[in-house]
């Protein structure tokens, strides 16, 4: 290599090093900064009760966002997850019929619904090639409408006490729901890094054609991502149901956007191929801590909306690199 080209690569290497590491550590740095600021602002922040509260708040969003991570990693998006969460609470709330014996069948049914939704996405987006954003918008509308029709506007609540323990109960002092969320996070983090599915997911998300020519059945990989996302949304819905104890057609409103924001703030790039589950966890915590500190300070929810918008834009701008072919 001539001197000229060496000089060219040296700064280039630097930048790419910083950039890669920043997208891994960046979200945590931001989270740390937020935590520090929060501790300074409010004395009530760093208490065990509050911290546990934060984790419990974050749990459903974390589960949804992890599912969304898979879809975004593979180059897609899913805005129907919020509606699916509502569907889960609505169906779950009515099927359980106050009977512990019905818990398992109910869970199976709602997971089945999640799988069906995921398969519809697979059919449209992966096989036919429709636009992911608008297609999942369509399923979101259909699910919302069906929720309302099913409940007639008045959701039932037949959730058993045992089921509610999912949210209230603790294991070694930690709320069960938090354990579930962290478990999902752990599985995904591990799986994305070490499993064949994870490797294929990254390959397809990064360069679908190259992955295809290398023998990866890209349709299957993408399909699984969409189905996993829907199923995880259902799981999140079950978590929410355990907490609120009743079906709610408005449950999960806004969670689709929050989940996308969390994923992107966490360093996963729009367009796919780069990102980690851990980053999403950080992104979720950032959003939840933000919400929490506003609560502690007694600031209205409205100001929170404003700050959230700003945080989302800045957070994504910090490590968003648009890949070619992305929407402007």
């Amino acid at each position: 290599m001539t001197a000229a080209s060496e000089a060219e690569t040296r700064p280039a290497l630097w930048f790419s090093l910083v950039r890669t590491h920043w997208s891994v550590f960046g979200p945590w740095a931001i989270l740390l900064a937020l935590v520090v600021i929060s501790t300074l602002i409010s004395s009530g922040f760093l208490t065990t009760t509050n911290l546990v509260n934060i984790l419990r708040q974050a749990a459903p969003l974390m589960i949804v966002a992890l599912g969304q991570t898979l879809v975004i990693l593979v180059g897609g998006i899913d805005v129907s997850v919020g509606a699916l969460i509502a569907t889960t609470t609505v169906i779950g709330g009515s099927l359980m019929r106050d009977s512990d014996a019905m818990i398992l069948p109910t869970v199976l049914v709602v997971i089945g619904v999640g799988v069906v939704v995921g398969l519809v996405h697979y059919l449209f987006i992966v096989r036919i090639g429709t636009d992911a954003l608008v297609t999942t918008l369509g399923t979101m509308l259909i699910l919302s409408g069906l929720n309302l029709i099913y409940t007639g506007g008045a959701p039932r609540s037949n959730v058993t006490v045992l089921f509610r323990k999912l949210s209230d109960g603790r294991l070694l002092g930690i709320p069960i729901i938090v354990i579930v969320a962290l478990f999902v996070a752990g599985v995904l983090a591990f799986g994305l890094r070490r499993s064949t599915f994870g490797r294929r997911l990254y390959a397809v998300g990064s360069n679908r054609e190259a992955a295809r020519l290398a023998g990866i059945r890209t349709h299957r990989v993408e399909g699984r991502a969409y189905v996993a996302c829907s199923v995880l949304a259902v799981v999140a819905g079950l978590a929410l149901l355990a907490r609120i104890g009743t079906g709610d057609t408005a449950a999960g409103t806004g969670m689709e956007l929050d989940s996308i924001a969390a994923v992107l703030i966490g360093g996963t790039a729009f367009g796919g191929g780069r990102g980690r589950a851990e980053g999403t966890v950080a992104g979720v915590l950032i959003l939840t801590v933000l919400f929490n500190i506003f609560n502690l300070m007694g600031i209205s929810r409205f100001a929170h909306l404003i700050v959230k918008g700003v945080v989302v834009i800045i957070g994504v701008a910090l490590y968003s690199t648009r890949k070619r072919g992305d929407r402007a």
């Binding site: 000229a4 064949t196 990254y202 054609e209 295809r212 023998g215 059945r217």
Partner: protein, 529 residues
């Protein structure tokens, strides 16, 4: 821009005069030298052909003249003054227009709208229709385009779009027009028309730089010719001073012979692994039939648009609609996607390794192991030690220069990137390996290593389908050679008997491939359908 400024611009250019001289231009990408110490002179009122094989650097030269790249070394003089083009816009302002191979028209807009795009004659922000129509009426006849100027560009044929792009260059009063491989996908009639346009341009005092493969074009059109080979100028002369043979020799040379390892296995008696029968891909290939045998290297040669890559993609299951049958081991193949082909032992090293070959975000190790994820894992979890070992084996045997097997491939040079793609399939083991332009953008050292690997593959029993536009490669590596033109096979040649000193055979082959003559008269219009 108002009409008045339109004319002022033209008048200004009249006073400028027009001569481009380049001195000692060098450019490299990632350590690969695209151009080295290139000199040249391009005058107005002259047709200057730049010829060379793939990888010779023609495209880089065009891009430097067009302001897309800046040279690492060297100077560009415009009318005696030294200039440098920091952007395409600056080249445009210097009256240099380029007609690329990539489309640069907006499909949804009409012809006349495209002609004025970016320089629209306006009145209060609205396009002055009459002026716009005036532009179209002025330049379209010059290029002989009988096109309705209010047609959306998306409805035009390739040839027509090309004419429109040339017209667009004229509409900005360009004094130098660079045409990059303009005839590669045109029918005979369309080529004729383009020829008369080019001659007419010369008559108008426009300078034309014609990048081409086609010796025939060079000698029927050009006034001067410059030959590039491996980034350097091997010949630069006025047309009357040289013969086609001189040009061809300057293009391909003969000193590469030592790079090619000799054949050790005779594949003539080997069994057929893949047979393609009557393969037709609408719009790209028509009635293609051939056989691939064990231990054989089957070379595919032809111009761009000949359909070789499409055939390769059809064999591996990467294309959509096609007719005809592919037999693998005597049985009709049920290959629907590349994964199926790979399961049958057929793999492709694609032409564009950046777009289709490598997953740039992943490491060397990950890329090499990609087809074998199932084999490298247990219960769905990857065995990283195995994967690492696999990659190291390939890094070793192919001499891939990389800091480690976990380096991200985008950091490697072109030659090493190509080796990674090769290594992937060597590691997996294939019965049939299709190589599409395997040494494009690869430095000489890596090239010879790749040739060695190809020979080894064949010796060990793999059937190799070698698509290449580099004639020495084809000639020295292939056992048989198939020549394709415009989607059809025009000739099949047995290369076993061609010895190093058999010049006549080589020249015939070259002429066939370059379209100078068609042996069976099969050359002609593009296949319909």
């Amino acid at each position: 821009m108002s009409l008045r400024r339109y004319f002022e611009r033209g008048a200004r250019r009249e006073r400028e005069g027009s001569l481009i001289k380049i001195e000692q231009i060098s450019k490299q990408f990632d350590g690969v030298h695209a151009l080295t110490s290139v000199d040249g002179e391009f005058n107005v009122g002259e047709i200057h052909a730049v010829v060379g094989e793939n990888g010779a650097g023609k495209s880089t030269l065009v891009k430097i003249l067009a302001g897309v790249h800046e040279p690492d070394e060297g100077r560009i003089h415009l009318n005696g003054e030294e200039v440098s083009f920091g952007s395409p816009r600056e080249a445009m302002d210097a009256s240099i227009a380029v007609v690329y191979q990539e489309p640069s028209l907006v499909p949804m807009l009409t012809v006349e709208e495209n002609l004025v795009l970016g320089r629209e004659p306006t009145r209060l922000g609205f396009v002055a229709t009459e002026s716009m129509q005036g532009v179209a009426d002025r330049v379209l006849p010059i290029v002989g385009a009988s096109i309705d100027p209010s047609t959306p560009v998306e409805k035009l044929s390739i040839a027509q779009r090309q004419l429109v792009e040339i017209a667009k260059a004229l509409s900005v009063e360009a004094r130098m027009i660079l045409l990059d491989e303009p005839t590669s996908s045109l029918s005979i009639a369309e080529i004729d028309r383009l020829r008369s346009v080019i001659i007419d341009l010369k008559g108008r005092g426009v300078g034309v730089v014609l990048i081409t493969h086609n010796i025939d074009e060079v000698f029927s059109l050009a006034d001067r010719v410059t030959v590039l080979k491996d980034g350097t100028v091997t010949l630069s002369a006025g047309i009357p001073e040289v013969t086609p043979a001189d040009v061809i020799k300057a293009m391909i040379g003969r000193d590469l012979a030592h790079m090619f390892p000799p054949r050790t296995v005779d594949s003539r008696e080997r069994r057929t692994v893949v047979e393609v029968r009557n393969l037709s891909i609408p719009g790209r290939a028509s009635d293609v039939s051939f056989e691939l045998r064990e231990s054989e290297v089957l070379g595919f040669v032809g111009l761009i648009g000949a359909g070789r890559t499409d055939v390769a993609k059809a064999v591996i299951g990467a294309t959509g609609r096609r007719h005809g049958v592919v037999f693998v081991d005597g049985e009709e193949s049920r290959i629907r996607e590349p994964a199926d082909a790979i399961a049958s032992g057929i793999a492709l090293v694609p032409e564009d390794r950046l777009a289709d070959g490598l997953v740039m975000d992943l490491s060397v190790r990950h890329n090499i192991g990609l087809p074998q994820l199932a084999e490298l894992s247990r219960f769905g979890l990857l065995d990283r030690a195995d994967e690492s070992r696999l990659a190291d084996e390939q890094i070793d045997s192919l001499s891939i220069k990389t800091p480690s097997n976990s380096t991200i491939v985008s950091n490697l040079s072109g030659g090493n990137q190509q080796k990674v793609v090769l290594g992937r399939w060597l590691a997996k083991g294939c019965r049939v390996l299709i190589l599409d332009e395997p040494t494009r953008g690869v430095d000489v050292g890596a090239k010879s290593e790749i040739y060695k690997t190809i020979r080894q593959l064949a010796d060990n029993g793999t059937a190799v389908m070698l698509i290449s536009s580099e004639l020495p490669e084809i000639l020295h590596l292939s056992d048989r050679i198939i020549v394709m033109s415009k989607g059809r096979i025009v000739a099949t040649l047995d290369n076993h008997a061609v010895s190093e000193s058999d010049m006549a055979g080589e020249e015939d082959l070259i002429k066939l491939a370059l379209g100078l003559q068609s042996e069976s008269g099969a050359g002609g219009d593009a296949p319909s359908g």
